[in-house]
């Protein structure tokens, strides 16, 4: 089979990030500027080299043209303001890769900046709930936060496959262990399964420690062509595969089954483009807004069979030193919640070989995913992911 035309043709050559915190004391514009200038500097480029700007938001951040103006970029050949959170995150980098490879732009800056703790919180505070559109069939019943949707998906998975709370807890415990080695992580104190079970019930069957953090911060990346990447100071991290997938919503034509996610549609395309199989993945950064999302993605991405996600995540496979080291930075559960972008940061850091005590030895191929797509009742359905290699 001929190689996919986009495989390894573009690369991430610069990364920048702010402190991750509960209260940045800055605007999302201020956060974006800091991360963007750092990424441009890390790439060994000048502001004048940037001719594309891409971001995503859920009405909680600063638009790309505002950031471009404030950075001092005078001409943008490409821009993107994608609506969405985890359902959009890595797709913005995919879009940058397509813009670069097609010749529309040369060096594209991608950023996500949010005050998702001190400002608008996905968990339901900071602005009034939506009651128009499809939300009119949800909000009046107090169905207001993603955690409720995922809780209903998790319950179905538990009923159908016997997935246990211990198995969900194992995800939280493993990622916290990883975060304990990460100076950027907001939650660094190791936890036990007992701590997990003792944590406050939020959306039964999900407890506090099944939920990710809500945090303030920004991450930024520079995407350029593979050719230009080789002349820049950082070791290139090639975009081997970019993937998108649908999920089912409560309102899809096809039967919506929250024990399955859009990742099962995306995985063959994503791995196929990259020319890899799940067995080739050295390190995975899996979107973990909730523990259950990791369980369902492990199945749908092909790391274990359907229904075996619970035993798989509790087997030790996800630990550093396990068969699939996952979220070595601590993930959204314990590092911070930068809507999928801190997962890209973690993957790049691993492939540059600069992850310090949490480095996966010899990591060459990394998988990064955004929200799984569906996997809950009334959640945005799209999913997205990247396969990166050094």
């Amino acid at each position: 089979m001929p190689s996919h035309p986009l495989r390894d043709r573009t690369a991430i050559v610069g990364v920048g990030y702010t402190e991750f915190s509960k209260n940045s004391g800055k605007t999302t514009l201020g956060l974006a500027l800091e991360a963007c200038y750092k990424a441009i500097g890390d790439a060994g480029l000048e502001v004048t080299d940037i001719d594309g700007v891409a971001t995503y938001a859920v009405g909680d951040s600063t638009l790309s043209y505002v950031v471009a103006d404030a950075l001092g970029i005078e001409d943008t050949a490409y821009f993107l303001d994608h609506l969405g959170g985890g359902s959009a995150s890595q797709s913005t980098i995919a879009a940058a890769a397509m813009a670069v490879h097609s010749g529309v732009a040369t060096n594209v800056l991608c950023y996500r900046a949010l005050n998702s703790r001190s400002g608008f919180r996905m968990g339901g505070t900071g602005r009034e709930p939506r009651t128009a559109g499809d939300a009119q069939y949800q909000s009046p019943y107090g169905h207001l936060a993603p955690g409720q949707a995922v809780a209903m998906g998790a319950r179905m998975h538990m009923e159908r496959y016997g997935t246990t709370k211990d198995q969900l807890g194992a995800v939280a415990v493993t990622f916290r262990q990883h975060a304990s080695m990460n100076e950027r992580a907001l939650m660094r104190t190791p936890i036990t399964l007992d701590d997990y079970h003792a944590s406050r019930m939020i959306s039964d069957p999900l407890r506090l420690l099944d939920f990710c953090l809500e945090s303030d911060g920004a991450c930024a990346f520079i995407v350029t062509s593979a050719e230009r990447a080789r002349d820049l100071p950082q070791p290139p991290v090639y975009l081997s595969g970019v993937g998108y997938g649908p999920g089912r919503t409560l309102y899809s034509k096809a039967w919506m089954d929250p024990t399955e996610s859009g990742a099962r549609f995306m995985a063959p395309r994503l791995f196929g483009m990259a020319g890899v199989t799940p067995a080739d993945i050295d390190v995975a950064c899996i979107y973990d807004a909730f523990t259950y999302m990791v369980v369902v993605q492990m199945e749908d991405l092909g790391f274990c069979s359907k229904g075996e996600g619970g035993p798989f995540v509790a087997s030790g496979a996800l630990a550093l030193g396990g068969s699939l080291p996952t979220n070595p930075h601590g993930g959204h559960l314990s590092e911070a919640y930068i809507h999928g972008y801190n997962h890209v940061l973690a993957a790049v850091e691993q492939l540059r070989g600069r992850a310090g005590p949490r480095q996966v030895e010899g990591a060459e191929v990394a998988l990064v995913t955004g929200a799984p797509g569906g996997a809950g009742i009334a959640l945005p359905p799209q999913c997205n992911g990247l396969v990166l290699r050094r």
Binding site: H143, M152, M156, W255, I377
Partner: protein, 140 residues
Amino acid sequence: MATNVSRPLPLPDIDSRPFWQGAKDGKLLIQRCPSCRSFRWPPRDFCNVCYTPGGDWTQVSGQGVLLSWTVQHHLLHPGFADEVPYVVLAVALDEDRRCQLLGNLRRATAEELQAGMAMEAVFEEASPEITLVHWRPRRD
């Protein structure tokens, strides 16, 4: 604790107005494709099975099966301060399991719930304009 903060209420639109009017009249109205007769939820201008425009508003039985549920302990909105913990559930209608409605549980506790159990609609006035559709286990 009593609260004066009102709960979020639906903002009916051109697509959904007949549904909410039906609920106010104590009827569960669902669109049905004039061509292929598929039931459709939520209200849309076109059938996504056969792509025909329009939908016939049809009263359905108000009976379905429980897909899943969550018990919300954490207060997300001050309007629900008197309700926590409350159950949000998803019910698939008997007429077409692809029609899946959310609601709250009425006249039962979460402990009684089992996936797949038979449920029926309960109409409850939320304001002078809006009646919400909730669900209770069917007791035949």
